[in-house]
Amino acid sequence: MTLLEFARGYAMNWAIVLFIAGMIWRLVGVLLLFRHTDLSRPRNTHTFWGGLRTVFTRFWPHKVFVRPTLFHLATGYVLHVGLLIVIFFFVPHILYFKNLLGVEWPGLPNNAVMVAGVLTLGALVAFLARRLIHPVMRKISGWDDYFSWLVTALPVATGLLAFAHLGLRYETMLAIHILSVALLLAWFPFGKLAHAILFIPSRAQLGAWFQRRGVRA
């Protein structure tokens, strides 16, 4: 069995299994928690809509915070939009989703995806540099932060190298790329990367509370 066969077969399959089991475990566990009993009289009872609204309004900070968080905001958007383009609009990736989910959508030209990939990697490096340089950031950073950064950066870096036919032979680089994605999927539910899914229930819960108390935030 070649490394590529192992990556496309066992490694990826087990990673998907871990991802699904882990993510459902965390979601069900979080959703089953008791909510704090709020004894105050509700100002508003449309808590569902309030929760839903907050899921989207939190994509942009209040204007007071835009300037102080500009670096984080801009780099964060480059990183997340870049990842979105690279993961969901590169044709070989779309074919992967088609195989798994049975649906597909139009892709972007490879070179456009490559530009997005380079910007994404740049944003990741900028975030890491800030984490290492900024004294407060360095203080509050733990093992999870660095490992989550690594498993996010690896697929982007190896994907770019495989695409550009740089470094090792293409099939080896492709296998390493797939293995790095498998590592990302396997780690995803158990570390801070799970925010990519858990942000929805957490924002919704906060929004629902705010709605009930009449907070406009």
Partner: protein, 354 residues
């Protein structure tokens, strides 16, 4: 043909001009990425070369490799050179000769001990010795016996090079490649299903010229022919870069010659000279004919998850594993949720008590 007659005389007898001969030498040097200064060396070596004795063994194979060679674009200098070697034994071509053929092999081995070239076509079964025999002798035994006196071994085709179709899962005959059994002789792999004829003549020419095998890659293939991937040399590559892919074999994209990646082309991970040397007298190669590369010169190409499955797709979708994972996830989540609630209740009771 006299055995000790120089190769150049044989070619002359068969109507090959000096110009044609030098052209072949130049083309061979160019294909093998040798400097132009090596052309006279190749010509000189070939002029002086005596017909090397070649023993061609056929094991678990479909004879496609022999078919590819014998039906290559004819007549060419490559063919004549190939005809001019002393093919003292070929199991496929001499099968009807029976005992006489086996005697011819033994004589050739005795007369050219340590100097003959052994060409092997097909994989070797290591399971039941009766799976494949020649004159009642198992393939393993024949290979070991003939390889002992060979100067070098050339594994022709993917079966001999990497086990090929017989080696495909679940490999019922326990098929192995030549280099799994021959450890003390230089082995060169010329994989392909079938391999390109000119690659075989190129390797033979290199051996006649330099007295050794050409530089090989990590899979034992001549780098000169297997140094680049099909994808790297594919004329459809610009369409890949632009994200223009044929989605079926008869859609607009296919008619416009767009990239065949979505249709399962294995060009990006396949190393061979098809895109440059081409087939049928340089007419075309599979991608040019509208079909994706099958990856036939790579090990285990039969087991790469399907010819029509794109390279980025997993070789198998773990549907049952995913369903089981979802079940495990729900169960674990319910358990974790219940435990967390218990803790919350205990904390509240503790708070109420204090």
């Amino acid at each position: 043909m006299k055995k000790d007659q120089p190769l150049i005389d044989l070619l002359r007898e068969q109507g090959v001009s000096r110009r044609g001969f030098l052209k072949f030498c130049a083309v061979t040097a160019s294909m093998m990425a040798l400097p132009p200064s090596m052309v006279p060396a190749i010509a000189k070596a070939l002029e002086q070369a005596r017909r090397p004795s070649v023993i061609w063994l056929s094991f678990q194979e479909c004879t496609g490799c022999t078919e590819s060679l014998t039906r290559s674009h004819a007549p060419t200098v490559e063919n004549l050179i190939f005809n001019a070697i002393s093919l003292d034994y070929d199991h496929t071509l001499q099968a009807a000769a029976g005992v006489a053929a086996e005697e011819a092999r033994e004589t050739a081995m005795k007369e050219n001990w340590g100097k003959y070239l052994l060409v092997v076509e097909g994989s070797i079964p290591t399971g039941n010795p009766g799976f494949s025999t020649i004159a009642g002798v198992s393939n393993v035994q024949t290979l070991e016996e003939v390889a002992k006196g060979a100067a070098a071994v050339i594994a022709v085709g993917s079966c001999a090079s990497y086990g090929g179709l017989p080696h495909a899962a679940p490999n019922p005959t326990g098929a192995v490649q030549v280099s799994d059994l021959v450890k003390d002789k230089p082995v060169v792999n010329i994989p392909g299903c079938p391999p390109i004829p000119v690659v075989i003549t190129g390797v033979l020419t290199h051996f006649l010229t330099f007295g050794r095998l050409p530089e090989l890659d990590s899979l034992g293939r001549p780098l000169a022919f297997y140094g680049n991937s099909i994808h790297d040399r594919c004329y459809r590559r610009p369409f890949y870069e632009r994200g223009q892919f044929a989605e079926t074999f008869d859609d607009e994209g296919a008619k416009k010659g767009w990239c065949l990646y979505r249709l399962g082309c294995k060009g990006p991970v396949t190393y061979n000279a098809c895109a440059t040397t081409k087939w049928n007298d340089g007419t075309s190669f599979p991608i040019e004919s509208g079909h994706g590369c099958l990856g036939c010169s790579q090990p285990d190409f039969w087991d790469m998850g399907g010819f029509y499955k794109a390279l980025s797709q997993p070789s198998a979708t773990p549907v049952s594993g995913m369903a089981a994972a979802a079940g495990v996830g729900v169960a674990a989540g319910l358990g974790a949720g219940w435990l967390a609630r218990q803790r919350q209740v205990e904390a509240k009771e503790k708070e109420d008590r204090s």
